[in-house]
């Protein structure tokens, strides 16, 4: 744009492009500086370098064991909640009665704090995967039901009239019209749910577990290995971010038409 100072405008452009990364790096450097200069003890706020050291002090295979334990529960809970939420939403859209009966029940489940119920579930189902998956599922499925029903209700009424005028079977109205129209909403629900799934798995590990990243963080904290706890926390956030991104990539790959149009 700036003809007279091409170099200046180039620098400006690059600065704009890398601004988020630069801001992040600046923040980490500031953090390091504060810790070093202020001589903040590691058990209050570990410095970034201490956290990195702590990360590499834990064997890779141990990280993988904990990661797998958390990921397994999170993904099973996530998939289970999809398998429950989508048919439930279809039922609620298709039957007024089902909607009237189920909706209050769903609200009750959603307003019950899962963290408080988690110990009861563990007592009921034992300390293995099933109880953890159930806890995860309870946290994740509500946003999915809400987004799926919202999306299905947003189908243009003309398309429903077209379907009725063709006397098509109801299941085709659902699968060929309503569900595809709901795809953008379903994916916003999935993006919320996948991050909630990690939270669900970690909550379950806090209650009863011998492995998993949540367990690892709790265990590190109780032994005052604060840098190690921070390393676990950051690892967990990265995994959560990657899962969130995978949902976005899945949508872009399989349903490119459902993305908002770029102007």
């Amino acid at each position: 744009m700036n003809q007279t100072f091409p170099l200046k405008s180039w620098v400006k452009q690059q600065a704009n492009r890398f601004a988020p990364a630069l801001f992040f790096i600046g923040l980490v450097l500031l953090w390091e500086l504060v810790c070093q200069v202020g001589k903040v003890p590691n058990y209050i706020l570990p410095s970034p370098s201490a956290i990195i050291t702590a990360f590499f002090n834990v064997e890779f295979s141990r990280w993988m064991t904990h990661l797998w334990a958390t990921l397994r529960v999170a993904l099973m809970g996530f998939v289970l909640s999809i398998m429950i939420a989508i048919p439930l939403s279809i039922g609620m859209i298709r039957s007024e009665l089902m909607n009237r009966v189920l909706y209050p029940a769903l609200i009750v489940i959603q307003s019950t704090p899962v963290v408080a119920v988690a110990p009861l579930i563990i007592v009921l189902l034992g300390t293995e995967d099933p109880s953890r998956v159930l806890i995860t599922c309870l946290i994740t499925f509500f946003p999915l039901v809400v987004s799926t029903t919202t999306g299905m209700l947003e189908t243009p009424p003309e398309m429903i009239e077209l379907s009725q005028s063709l006397r098509a079977p109801r299941y085709r109205e659902t699968w060929q019209i309503r569900i595809p129209y709901a795809i953008p909403h379903i994916f916003s629900g999935l993006r919320v749910s996948i991050t909630l799934a990690i939270i669900g798995a970690v909550v379950a590990e806090f209650v009863a577990a011998e492995e998993g990243l949540g367990y690892f963080i709790q265990f590190s904290t109780s032994f005052f290995k604060i840098p190690q706890a921070f390393a676990g926390l950051i690892f967990l956030s990265v995994i959560s971010l990657l899962l969130f991104k995978s949902v976005q990539w899945t949508q872009a790959w399989f349903f490119p038409w459902s993305l908002p149009k770029k102007k």
Binding site: P156, E158, L162, S165, L166, R167, A168, R172, I177, P180
Partner: protein
């Protein structure tokens, strides 16, 4: 196409084909609820082009839904070919104000959608028919594009040929060109007349544009404001084929003024 050829079995062109007898409707069954439309009597001949004009909310779309069998009137009777309409009909195609194409299907698959939706699949022959329709609409090179890659006018052309896929004898159009710009709108109107001449259909066409109604239709039903009743049924005695020259004829302005009179002074008796 076959239903057009064996038309000698059908009633003559002047006999009533779609017929409204004392039709009234209220959506709310409460006795005190207001009528949306009231005492509509109308006979539409086979392969006639009837336009419907009237203020918003006077029940034009309601009329159209009744012919499609999507709505059974609470009073009176709508019949097609002397049989009362009691359920959605196979021989009806519908075009809406918005093209309402499915954004996840290509243009060709959108055209084929009624078959896919009604029967679950379609044959190679059906695909050939879709290609013919696409060619008729001048959309052959857009057949594999996604709907959002097409202009509004092209999208509505796809909407029209989708309604023609099952070769309906009755075509219902609910303000089909309202979302288009003036130039596109005029062109697509003439294209519709071409299609209608080559593949005759009984056409019920709702519009907000008085000049569009006069330019296209054989007869114009003018409705009063709610509850919608018949204010007048106007014969459009302009010669066919109609073109942009038709607009300049004095008769065109006379008819348009007549309708304008009804719309702007709605208390004038029929």
């Amino acid at each position: 196409m076959e239903s057009i050829e064996d038309s000698n079995k059908e009633p003559s062109k002047q006999a009533a084909y779609v017929s409204f007898k004392g039709v009234g409707h209220k959506y709310d069954p409460l006795p005190t609820a207001p009528m949306v439309i009231d005492s509509i009597d109308l006979d539409i001949h086979r392969h006639e082009f009837v336009a419907v004009v009237g203020p918003s909310g006077c029940g034009k779309s309601t009329l159209l839904r009744m012919v499609a069998g999507l709505l059974i009137p609470s009073h009176g009777e709508v019949s097609v070919f002397d049989r009362p309409v009691t359920e959605p009909r196979d021989d009806v195609g519908i075009v809406f104000q918005k093209a309402n194409l499915l954004p996840w299907l290509t243009v060709r698959k959108n055209v084929l959608f009624p078959l896919k939706h009604k029967y679950g699949s379609y044959s190679a022959n059906d695909e050939k028919r879709a290609n013919e329709l696409l060619e008729m609409a001048g959309l052959t090179q857009f057949a594999d594009k996604m709907p959002d890659e097409l202009s509004g006018g092209m999208q509505q052309r796809v909407g029209i040929i989708r309604a023609l896929l099952l070769n309906p004898d009755i075509l219902l159009m609910d303000e089909p060109f309202s979302a288009l710009d003036a130039l596109t709108r005029e062109q697509i109107g003439f294209d519709l007349l071409d299609i209608w001449r080559e593949h005759p259909k009984t056409l019920l066409f709702i519009t907000h544009s008085i000049s569009e109604a006069v330019l296209l239709a054989d007869r114009i039903l003018v409705m009063s404001k709610r509850p919608g009743t018949v204010l007048d049924l106007i014969d459009v005695d302009l010669p066919r084929p109609r073109s942009s020259k038709t607009i300049n004829s004095p008769r065109f302005s006379e008819l348009a003024d007549l309708i304008r009179g009804y719309i702007y002074e709605p208390n004038v008796p029929a």
